[in-house]
């Protein structure tokens, strides 16, 4: 139970980062933290079924469910793609406006730079 509460806390930290921080890079970090908390939650869920790793060597039985692990591989790669694209967009905004602060960017865009 404690690990689930910690994961919820991790998710909330990421969400707080997205909602409350002004710096675009910190918002992207928040997105990453949320992604990681969900990945760990899925792996944790899959491990409820058994105890050994799903590598079927001689004498291995009572394995954990490998399906969430395989799905989370996909989620990790897509998380990498999202952060790369988000960082590139943030950098582009920085080049255009000279700041990472989201409110400054908004103000500058309103005033037509």
């Amino acid at each position: 139970m404690i690990e689930r509460i910690l994961l919820l806390g991790m998710f909330l930290i990421g969400f707080w980062g997205i909602v409350s921080r002004k710096n675009l890079i910190k918002k992207i970090f928040g997105l990453n933290i949320i992604n990681n908390s969900v990945v760990i939650l899925f792996v944790l869920e899959g491990s409820r079924a058994g105890s050994s790793a799903p590598i079927m060597e001689q004498g291995i039985s009572n394995i954990v469910d490998p399906v969430p692990q395989a799905l989370m591989l996909t989620a990790i790669v897509i998380g990498v793609c999202i952060s790369a694209l988000a960082l590139a967009l943030a950098f582009r905004l920085y080049k255009a406006t000279g700041t990472y602060n989201i409110q400054e960017i908004k103000r500058k865009v309103h005033n037509g730079f």
Partner: protein, 263 residues
């Protein structure tokens, strides 16, 4: 006053997200065992891979993997497109004639006055790249590359696989890029080479996915199913191709993000 209003809004949104997610995170219903039990009994026999995670993402759910590689390809193209337009990429192969050169002031900030160069040493040095970092990463790079290829090719037997091996290979490429000497031309850290490797690996993946059709097994059918000597041969092949593609793609992204070369 405005700051306070924002804080109240933050707390309200955090509380509502907690309210929505609490049952999701704390739910404790019994885990459905049918998929696990089937895989435990038949997974190795059906796919030939001892590592059941590999068996799933390259056997039972291989369409997923194809979609994922397409997402990676799209993300790499999008990121490079956005970065190139922003004038940040000075990696070889891009037209950066439009970007202004560094001013003397900027050069002075980046070049550290206190860095020293030993006689005969062929490394650039500035504040962001110390000698220690460059020597260690340059020596470690090939070892990390080798470990990445080990993870790729033994993914069906042990923890690892194409994606994991690819990411480790990408770290090896970044190490090589950080430890690069001035004289040595390492083709592995050139963006033009890496994007060709990625494109070629994607073409190979498509060809490998079509190869089953020739044997009458359909898209992503295993052409080596009747060859009992290497039951996991198709999975090894796909792992290698995906590893190359992921390694080249993520290495390319990171090298593009390392940014402006100081010459």
């Amino acid at each position: 006053m405005k700051q306070k209003a924002i804080n109240v809004l933050t707390i309200i949104s955090l509380a509502s997200v907690t309210l929505v997610l609490l049952p999701l995170f704390l739910e404790n219903s019994p885990w459905p065992l049918s998929a696990r039990n089937y895989l435990e009994l038949h997974g190795v026999g059906d796919s030939g891979a001892i590592n059941l995670v590999s068996a799933i993402y390259l056997g039972f759910r291989v369409f997923d993997t194809l979609g994922e590689t397409i997402v990676l390809l799209t993300a790499v193209s999008g990121t490079i497109g956005v970065l190139t337009r922003a004038g940040a990429v000075l990696a070889e192969g891009y037209d950066t004639s439009g970007t202004p050169a560094l001013t003397e002031q900027e050069k002075k900030v980046i070049m550290d006055d206190h860095t020293f160069t030993l006689a005969g040493e062929k490394r650039r040095s500035h504040a962001l790249r110390t000698h220690l970092l460059e020597v260690v990463t340059g020596v470690l790079g090939p070892v990390v590359l080798l470990f990445g290829f080990y993870l790729m090719l033994y993914g069906h037997l042990s923890p690892g696989g194409g994606f994991q091996g690819g990411v480790v290979t990408a770290s090896g490429i970044i190490f090589l890029a950080l430890g690069n000497r001035i004289g040595a031309k390492n083709p592995l850290i050139r963006a033009s080479v890496l994007d060709r490797i990625e494109a070629a690996a994607f073409l190979l993946l498509i060809l490998a996915s079509l190869s089953g059709i020739l044997m009458g097994r359909g898209f992503f059918g295993n052409p080596l199913q009747d060859v009992t000597a290497i039951p996991a041969g198709y999975i090894i092949l796909l792992n290698g191709i995906i590893g190359l593609k992921v390694g080249a793609g993520i290495g390319f992204l990171c090298i593009a993000m390392v940014g402006r070369e100081i010459s």
